[in-house]
């Protein structure tokens, strides 16, 4: 069909445009390749964050991300025994440093965990409140996103931290108790933890509301 009348050609063009818009509006994000990439990546990023969060708040990690003057111990996150205190640099105090007991590797024969540079996370990286309650997922996520508080780490920096930091690696190989039983492990393997961190970082480090 050919419309020789310019007015008719204009009306036809408008109709086609409306039809196209109507058709586009019926598409779900999954059917629209452009939208799919954005929506899925953020969704995947949020899902990956929950995986990361499950590790960060596991006792092997969060016991040293306290908001108090002391570290915690054990799966019940009790206050560290022996009057251990944070100290000015997060490494205890003279005469009672972290290194007074914690060496560069696990001491399975005596049950004392160890890794290079054993210390508490600084207060700016606390993931608990002063009553030892774990912060919410959005709060911890925002904390990791805040470069003024996270050691000035950007996304790749956080990923590298999770990949190579000796204390992070320790959490996945935490050694044995004095009675020979193994310390419990975070819910993900280290490989899964790094993979989840990578997805979250690649998604722009989104945080749940």
């Amino acid at each position: 069909m050919v419309y020789s009348d310019p007015a008719m050609r204009g009306s036809y063009a408008v109709l086609i445009l409306i039809a196209c818009l109507a058709w586009l509006s019926t598409l779900s994000p999954a059917q629209n390749p452009g939208q799919k990439a954005v929506a899925t990546t953020r969704e995947a990023g949020l899902a990956a964050w929950q995986q990361v969060f499950s590790v960060l708040t596991y006792p092997r990690c969060i016991n040293c991300h306290t908001a108090t003057n002391y570290p915690q111990q054990g799966d019940d996150r009790h206050r560290h025994l022996f009057n251990v205190v944070r100290g000015p640099g997060g490494k205890g105090v003279a005469g009672l440093n972290c290194a007074t007991c914690h060496q560069s590797a696990n001491a399975d024969s005596t049950g004392v965990p160890g890794a290079y540079n054993w210390h508490l996370a600084p207060l700016s990286m606390r993931w608990q409140d002063r009553s030892d309650n774990i912060l919410t997922s959005p709060d911890v996520c925002r904390s990791l996103n805040d470069r003024s508080n996270n050691g000035s780490l950007d996304g790749p920096g956080i990923l590298r931290h999770h990949e190579t930091e000796p204390l992070v690696l320790w959490a996945f190989q935490p050694g044995r108790h004095r009675d020979g039983t193994e310390r419990s492990l975070p819910p993900l393997t280290h490989e899964q933890f790094v993979a989840a961190t990578r997805i979250w970082v690649d998604a722009g480090m989104p945080c749940p509301q």
Binding site: F82, N83, A94, L96, N97, T100, C101, A107
Partner: protein, 154 residues
């Protein structure tokens, strides 16, 4: 069994032991240096404290395999050091000791404190010595002796 070369109080010592053997038992059983005491065996009381590379260390929980080439100083050698000698002399002057069992560890922790904080406050002393228990309750005299040693060293 494995052979280790340790630097103890400035002297080289060679011994063959199980790698998991706590340093305390290497000192006491293999090297016959019994000044360092066994108290709790779980780093809870501080009686076994020695210095490893200058850090007050609970020898009952540190396997010999993790010492490496770091120098060890025990109560037998602490008097060779200026701060160590001042602390030991203050301990005698203030008549700190009652039964004495915990005092090797108390002195080793006190020396580590004074080397880090030459003029410690009461809070410094409480925190730094908080892991060293004394069933005789000599804490007041320990604090007094630490302050006396601090003044002598000033």
């Amino acid at each position: 069994m494995q052979t280790y070369r340790l630097n103890v109080n400035g002297q080289a010592k060679e011994l063959t032991v199980d790698p998991g053997t706590p340093l305390l038992w290497v000192l006491r059983e293999d090297l016959k240096m019994t000044g360092t005491k066994y108290g709790c065996g779980i780093s809870a009381c501080g009686a076994c404290t020695v210095h490893v590379a200058g850090v007050a260390t609970r020898s009952c929980v540190v396997p010999v395999s993790l010492i490496g080439d770091r120098p060890i100083v025990t109560i037998e050698g602490i008097g060779q050091d200026r701060v160590g000698r001042a602390v030991q002399e203050a301990w005698v002057r203030e008549d700190v000791v009652q039964c004495g069992y915990c005092q090797s560890g108390q002195i080793m922790s006190a020396v580590a404190l004074l080397k880090s904080r030459p003029r410690p406050t009461d809070a410094d002393i409480e925190q730094s010595m908080g892991g060293n228990l004394c069933r005789c309750g000599t804490y007041v005299r320990i604090r007094k002796a630490i302050k006396a040693a601090s003044q002598q060293l000033a």
